[in-house]
């Protein structure tokens, strides 16, 4: 593993957490069921990953009432956006040598 790879943010570098952040990139807040349906992650698993991202302040949860029932919405924070953008930049950097080597002479 390269030094660069070791610097990658573990909180983002997992398929479920990466896909949660990607799903929230549009800027709208979404509920638990929406994420579950679109990401295909089980209840418990999704809850764990959401808690981890919330603890890192990459997403925030807000509670509202819909038809008199409490509902939790999740939205990405600026820190979450930065973390995702940084990860994508780092992945590009990792791939850069391969890209230049593969380029035709």
């Amino acid at each position: 593993m390269t030094t660069l790879a070791l610097e990658l943010d573990d909180a983002v570098l997992s398929r479920p957490r990466l896909s949660i952040l990607a799903a929230l990139l549009g800027g709208d807040a979404v509920d638990f069921t929406f994420l579950q349906k679109n990401l295909g992650i089980s209840d418990g698993n999704l809850g764990t990953h959401l808690r981890k991202l919330e603890a890192e302040k990459y997403i925030r949860a807000k509670k509202t009432f819909v038809n008199r029932r409490p509902k939790t919405w999740f939205e990405i924070t600026p820190a979450g956006r930065n973390a995702l953008a940084q990860l994508l930049r780092q992945l590009e950097e990792i791939l850069a040598p391969a890209k230049s080597a593969a380029a035709p002479e």
Binding site: A22, A23, L24, G26, G27, D28, V30, F34, N38
Partner: protein, 203 residues
């Protein structure tokens, strides 16, 4: 050799982004359509009052229609559309960009209207208001096209065409952009409705 897991991850991420990003349609098209109908109706009423020489009532027509009909209906229709979106599990964010855009357009339009009335320059030149508001709407429609959905470019095109046509055709046609101020909103509302139905909503 390609790493199948890595490719699977990349494809999965691509699909997630495609499935979950907000669509480029104006889901609030009923609000647009309603404003179009109210403004067109108001303009026709003002024109009829002008023809009947009941000029004193004209300044009260639009404010009365806006405050008594358009704003309560906006609240009701907005709430209905938003409930539909919330049922899909999405809480739409407040579009501050659009709020500031139309807030600024309204403020500038009211300042121009006020200035024209207070300075007395409006006497015999009522059409100045139509051109001021028509030009401001044109800018708003272009920005709506950029920020919200593409049907607003059609509305902007029709608005600009009516402004140019009125200028070219002369004073007898200065009423034309006025009728299209509401007309373009009706057009944008109907096109928005079509686009919203054509585009599949995210699961």
């Amino acid at each position: 050799m390609e790493d199948p897991d890595l490719l699977k991850d990349v494809r999965f991420l691509r699909d997630v982004v495609a499935r979950t990003q907000p669509t480029c349609v104006n889901e609030y098209w009923p609000v647009t359509l309603m404003w179009g109908c109210v403004l067109t109706f108001g303009y026709v009423v003002c024109a009829l009052l002008g023809i009947a020489h009941k000029v004193a009532i004209i300044p009260w027509v639009m404010p009365a229609l806006i405050y008594l009909i358009a704003l309560p209906l906006t609240w009701y229709l907005r709430r209905r559309v938003q409930s539909g979106i919330e049922e899909r599990g999405v809480l739409p964010r407040c579009r501050k960009d659009l709020v500031f855009l139309w807030g600024s357009i309204t403020a500038i339009g009211l300042l121009w209207t006020g200035a024209l009335i207070v300075s007395g320059k409006i006497q015999g030149r009522w059409y100045a208001l139509v051109f001021v508001w028509g030009s401001l709407y044109f800018i708003g429609y272009i920005m709506n096209g950029v920020l919200l959905s593409s049907e607003w470019f059609w509305a902007a095109g029709v608005m600009l065409a009516s402004l140019v046509a009125a200028l070219v055709a002369g004073p007898q046609f200065y009423w034309l952009p006025g009728i299209w101020m509401g007309g373009t909103m009706v057009l944008a509302g109907l096109l928005g409705r079509r686009n919203a139905r054509l585009q599949p909503v995210p699961a």
